[in-house]
């Protein structure tokens, strides 16, 4: 093309951009608006996280502060933490006050184990079976499992009072039998966690593959289902542990003794120890969560990502 020749008409319908102007310069507003929006979102995020952290940390810090400082004299002390470590000896010296706390602690420890085991034994095979064989029952199971959410603990106690009279006469009045009612209480949370886990794997194909290779149902549950829903099981266990360690109403109304009723009794004579014990229970639950998460994460990383 010679310089004098007229320029060929452009096929592009894009309007010509003045020389020297870039796209960002020609559209400064949207970019600035986006940056402003991002800043706003980041600020909102920080505020929300700050509020949530304050919501959790202020009571915990207050508890810690109360546990290491005499309320009247204002002196700093590690006395209540020392008492907590030597709770067994204290219980022997003063069974009326500290004995209840020690018993409650032991009962809650046993209740945690029993509740978790019963919950897993009840839910995993049932949910697996329903997913594989009677899928039409899954809605019914979900309804039954979620039902305890809608029933207040006090109503549950009224209903289960007569049942526990029978439990007391057949088994004993030992507080560990609270595990039955605790299993009912943890059902909604454990069901949700396990349901998500089972939904994430191709259960029918995996179980059929295992069956064709010669595995029976128990082996399928133990070797195939459980390892593949490990995270869900860990979540269900943690929720159950947290719920059992924090349960007060039912134990109190049924005149049984657990950690929370023990703390309540001790709080009437030794408020500092009661708060220390509550804080320790919370820390224990937190540590447990971390350990379970780490264990679950460890296995996952071993399997490769």
């Amino acid at each position: 093309m010679t310089p004098s020749a007229p320029a060929a008409p452009s096929l592009s319908r894009t309007p010509a951009t003045p020389p020297g102007s870039s796209l960002s310069e020609s559209h400064p507003r949207p970019q600035q608006m986006r940056r402003g929006m991002r800043r706003k979102q980041a600020t909102t995020r920080r505020i929300v996280i700050g509020v949530i952290m304050a919501f959790f940390l202020i009571p915990l810090t207050s508890m810690l502060y109360f546990s290491v400082r005499y309320p009247l004299s204002g002196k700093w002390t590690g006395h209540s933490w020392s008492d907590l470590i030597h709770i067994q000896a204290l219980a022997a010296e003063d069974p009326a006050d500290y004995g209840q706390l020690w018993d409650g602690l032991k009962n809650s420890a046993v209740l945690v184990v029993l509740t978790v085991v019963l919950m897993l034994v009840l839910l995993i095979p049932t949910m697996t079976w329903i997913r594989l064989r009677v899928r039409w029952l899954s809605r019914t199971l979900e309804f039954v499992c979620l039902l305890p959410l809608t029933i207040p603990a006090i109503v549950l106690v009224v209903g289960l009072g007569p049942v526990y009279r029978i439990v007391s006469s057949v088994l004993s009045t030992n507080s560990i039998w609270l595990c039955f009612i605790y299993v009912i209480l943890v059902l909604p949370f454990a069901y949700r966690a396990l349901d998500a886990g089972l939904g994430a794997i191709d259960l029918p194909t995996l179980s059929e593959a295992a069956r064709s290779l010669g595995a029976g149902w128990l082996r399928i549950l133990w070797r195939i289902v459980l390892p593949n829903i490990r995270s869900a099981v860990v979540s269900a266990c943690f929720i159950s542990v947290a719920l059992v360690l924090g349960e007060f109403t039912i134990a109190q109304l049924l005149a049984r003794n657990n950690l929370q009723t023990g703390i309540y009794l001790v709080s009437q004579s030794d408020g500092q120890l009661a708060v220390t014990m509550s804080l320790a229970a919370l820390l224990l639950a937190f540590v447990l969560l971390m350990v379970l998460s780490l264990l679950s994460g460890d296995r996952k990383s071993q399997e490769g990502s």
Partner: protein, 372 residues
């Protein structure tokens, strides 16, 4: 693409039964509500034979395989393996290796552990398990991937491991439930050939279910074409293609041109040309003849052959790589498909007149309106 090493026979024979089992399903029926999935289904798999059940979705082929595996219960009928009735034997005790359509490797186990799983259930000790699993992984060309988890392998590799796992237990029968349908075309063909190679190498009886006719014809000793819960025809791929017994088989396996003609004795007159009829075709009267596209020739309208051809107009062409297809419309509106050399497709112009001639290859005919 994974290269498959040549595996010496002695590598795997130590772990295999060496010969296939005779499997018979007799009068097997299964209904789901009002739907009859299988209706008096009969099948015999000879020792070392690979049978493919081919049919459209819902024809009952997967149900038949699942009943043989014990994953479904039959309403009626009898299943025997080497003469032993296994109808009431649970899945876990049937000794049938199965490869599923969905990826079925246990996600928390490595390839090696997956293959060892069934061996452990058969009481093999750790060193035996390791040795046998290694042999089968080598057989499927995945020794290097033995320590990988399912999520670290491609779909084709996962199905290979599933095949090794199914074979490692030395099953009576190998069951393959559309094992290639989740794979891409290239891997499909590769794995299909590998399955056949391994099946022949081990001499194991196998039942393969698919809806892909190319796959079926490529791997099978015999193909059973299923429809409405029954086998319509079971025959070698060649026989199935060249001598279909009914309209369904003729239309389902390969392409067919249903053309109206008049039967007289062993032949029929179609488009003014004589075509030999397959046994079972009507011997007189009006018939519909199923002519394969490769039996249809397109000839120039001015050529010498035009006297034996019917005038038609090209309406479409499709290039398929190794060959091509041309669609031509006859004067009465009938559309006929011809298979032509791919080099010839460029010469055909849509709208151009051509002559359609038929080879006298034997074809199936049915009386119009006859159900298969």
């Amino acid at each position: 693409m994974t290269s498959v090493p040549t595996v010496a026979h002695h590598d795997v024979t130590s772990a295999t039964t060496g010969s296939g089992a005779l499997v018979e399903l007799t009068g097997v029926s299964r209904s789901f509500g009002t739907v009859k999935a299988l209706d008096g289904f009969d099948l015999r798999i000879n020792p070392g034979e690979l049978i493919v059940l081919l049919g459209p979705s819902g024809c009952g082929k997967t149900t038949a395989l699942r009943i043989l595996a014990g994953l479904e219960d039959a309403d009626a009928g009898r299943i025997t393996v080497d003469g032993r009735d296994i109808s009431s034997v649970p899945t876990a005790k049937r000794d049938m290796g199965m490869v599923f359509q969905a990826y079925s490797l246990f996600p928390h186990m490595t390839a090696q552990q997956n293959v060892e799983f069934g061996l452990g259930l058969r009481g093999k000790n750790a060193s035996e398990r390791k040795k046998i699993a290694g042999e089968y992984l080598e057989l499927v060309g995945l020794s290097a991937q033995a320590d990988r988890f399912a999520r670290q392998m491609s779909g084709g590799q996962q199905q290979r491991v599933a095949l090794a796992r199914a074979l490692a237990i030395s099953p009576n029968v190998l069951l393959l439930d559309e094992p290639l349908s989740a794979l891409d075309a290239k891997v499909r063909v590769q794995l299909r050939d590998e399955i056949r190679r391994i099946q022949l190498e081990l001499g194991i009886s196998a039942l393969f279910v698919t809806h892909d006719q190319e796959e079926a014809l490529a791997v099978a000793d015999r193909v059973g074409v299923m429809w409405q819960g029954k086998i319509q025809q079971i025959a070698t791929p060649q026989e199935l293609y060249s001598a279909p017994v009914n309209e369904f088989v003729a239309e389902f396996v390969g392409l067919s041109n249903p053309l109206v003609g008049t039967a007289s004795g062993d032949a029929a007159t179609v488009l003014g040309q004589q075509i030999l009829l397959l046994p079972g075709s009507p011997r007189s009267g009006a018939v519909t003849v199923f002519v394969r596209p490769e039996a249809v020739r397109l000839v120039p309208i001015e050529g010498a052959d035009v006297a034996h051809a019917t005038r038609a107009t090209i309406i479409a062409t499709s290039f398929l790589g190794s060959m091509a297809r041309a669609h031509a419309r006859l004067a009465d509106g009938t559309v006929i498909v011809a298979q032509i050399a791919s080099a010839d497709v460029a010469a055909l112009r849509v709208g151009a007149p051509v002559g359609v001639a038929l080879d006298p290859t034997p074809a199936l005919a049915i009386a119009p309106g006859t159900a298969p």
